[in-house]
Amino acid sequence: MQTWDMDLEELKEEETNLPGTKLKTELLTVNMGPQHPATHGVLRVEIKTDSEIVAQAIPHIGYLHRCMEKHCEAIDYRGVIPFVDRLDYLAAMSQELTYSMAVEKMLGTEVPRRALVIRTIVSELQRIASHLMAFGTYALDLGAFSPFLYAFDEREKILTFFEEISGARLLYNYFWIGGVWNDITDRQLGYIDNFLNGFEKELVKYDKLVSSNRIFQERTMGVGTLSLADAHSFGATGPVLRGSGQAWDLRKVDPYLIYDELDFDIPIGEGQRGSELGDCYNRYIVRMLEMVESVKMIRQSMKLLEPGPVIGKVSKVIKVPKGETYTRTECPRGELGIHLVSMGDKTPYRLKVKSPCFTHTSILPHIAPGQMIADFVASIGSIDIVLGEVDR
């Protein structure tokens, strides 16, 4: 091992006896990350391996700890939105939605109907964009390069739309407290419609290209199995929980925006195509099926769009009354919760972000033992973490 890593120097080598033999073996410590192409950012995992088999995996996080919660205590309520964007930079719109919903709940602001519909359309498009990224990089982790290019191609089309409505490509600052910044024009609706028509064909292509590929299935089926009881105990949400077989989705259970008017299903892992319930393939297939549902939802909500204002009445200087709230929404990666404590000032007193990725990263040590290192890469990819949200 290289000795440059400070944390590793302090670790003592553990010695174990192989069962059934008198031979003494030592576990080899392999350091994966923070600079590693398959860790989706700056996650560092310290892996104790018994030859190729992972005996123990210890994730080390905090390499992207940007002190966002400390910042929020010093900025006014509108200024927090750009910082919330930078949490999960792959699904910035969903983060903004949760934060603005939390503040609106405290202020009692009425959001206009048109803004609600636009929010639904945009957050579902964001879900597609985020899942496309997860799909592309997951295929890249497992050795397929072309799905990455196809996924980015489609993702760029969504980003083009986002750029037209908000002005930025990745971090939008589009959902404001009380509504949205800009209205959507009919030409842009036509663009979405066009995109959706093409995208449905693309989804069929992805299914042929990756989901039904035997090599991909062998790499993911039966790998990283997470049982439902463990998923509950770890507090897993989103595709990770649904991949373990429970139809838990806040859009259905506790509808916000206009989700109660839409007709959609909750895709869950059912051991599709001969996989084991709760393995990487189930989590992956849940994401692919969710994209199909999102397409359905966007089509329905586009029909519900009526003319009207897009931003409600909010005072120029936002002062939230004293109190606290915990608001959660269904983000592409799971449930994002915001615990907002206000003392009646212009700034939040405390803003705690419950990030789904943080919870999901803590599952890694649980599912890692007994896997090959290459399968461990598949496990990391399947829970689809974004380090900006893990470390905040």
């Binding site: 463990d230 507090g235 007193y349 705690k352 943080f358």
Partner: protein, 191 residues
């Protein structure tokens, strides 16, 4: 709203002292259940069958005391419910709580984060280390009286030449001449 829950907690766990916290006059938001810090573990053991998931442990520093909030939820589409359990720690020097890792697996990392940010230490925690900040970091960042350290491993945290002062350039301009000159300079630009 939580009155039944509170009665059952109080009857099941002695010394839990569960009370309802509701927003007062002019206040707004969610209500929660306040319990005694010594009986956190027993209460969580009692609540585990009712709420199958721990969502987050969140600390809040109210300067007189540190509040630790546990958000529990029941992940069952047929009967969804959630609750916020709070406890208050008066001791700011070495606040201590019982770890609930044995009840909820999710508590492991959440408690480590609470320790990292607020310095609340958890008894019987299996892996009691800092999680986000480096191990040799000083201080508890999210406390209200936190002062950032100046140097970390030879790197200046807030180097002087990178910290902008908002009147820096104006001061530089002022040194060039008095205020009348400055106005004349500005007016010459048509401002």
């Amino acid at each position: 709203m939580y009155s039944e829950l509170i009665t059952s907690i109080n009857s099941a766990v002695t010394n839990a002292n569960a009370t309802l916290v509701t927003p007062g006059e002019g206040e707004i938001g969610d209500s929660s259940v306040l319990i005694n810090p010594e009986s956190v573990l027993e209460v969580m053991k009692f609540l585990k069958p009712l709420y199958n998931a721990l969502q987050v442990i969140s600390g809040v520093d109210y300067t007189e005391y540190i509040e630790v909030c546990y958000f529990l939820a029941h992940f069952d589409p047929a009967a969804p419910k959630d609750v916020m359990i709070k406890t208050r720690l008066k001791d700011r020097v070495a606040p201590k709580l019982d770890s609930i890792c044995s009840v909820y697996l999710a508590a492991n990392w959440q408690e480590r984060e609470c320790y990292d940010m607020f310095g609340v230490s958890f008894n019987n925690h299996p892996d009691h280390r800092r999680i986000l900040c480096p191990d040799d970091w000083e201080g508890w960042p999210l406390r209200k009286d936190y002062k950032v350290q100046e140097v970390y491993r030879g790197m200046k945290v807030n180097p002087e030449n990178k910290m902008n002062r908002d009147d820096q350039l104006f001061e530089d301009n002022k040194q060039k001449g008095n205020e009348a000159d400055l106005i004349a300079w500005a007016l010459s630009k048509g401002l």
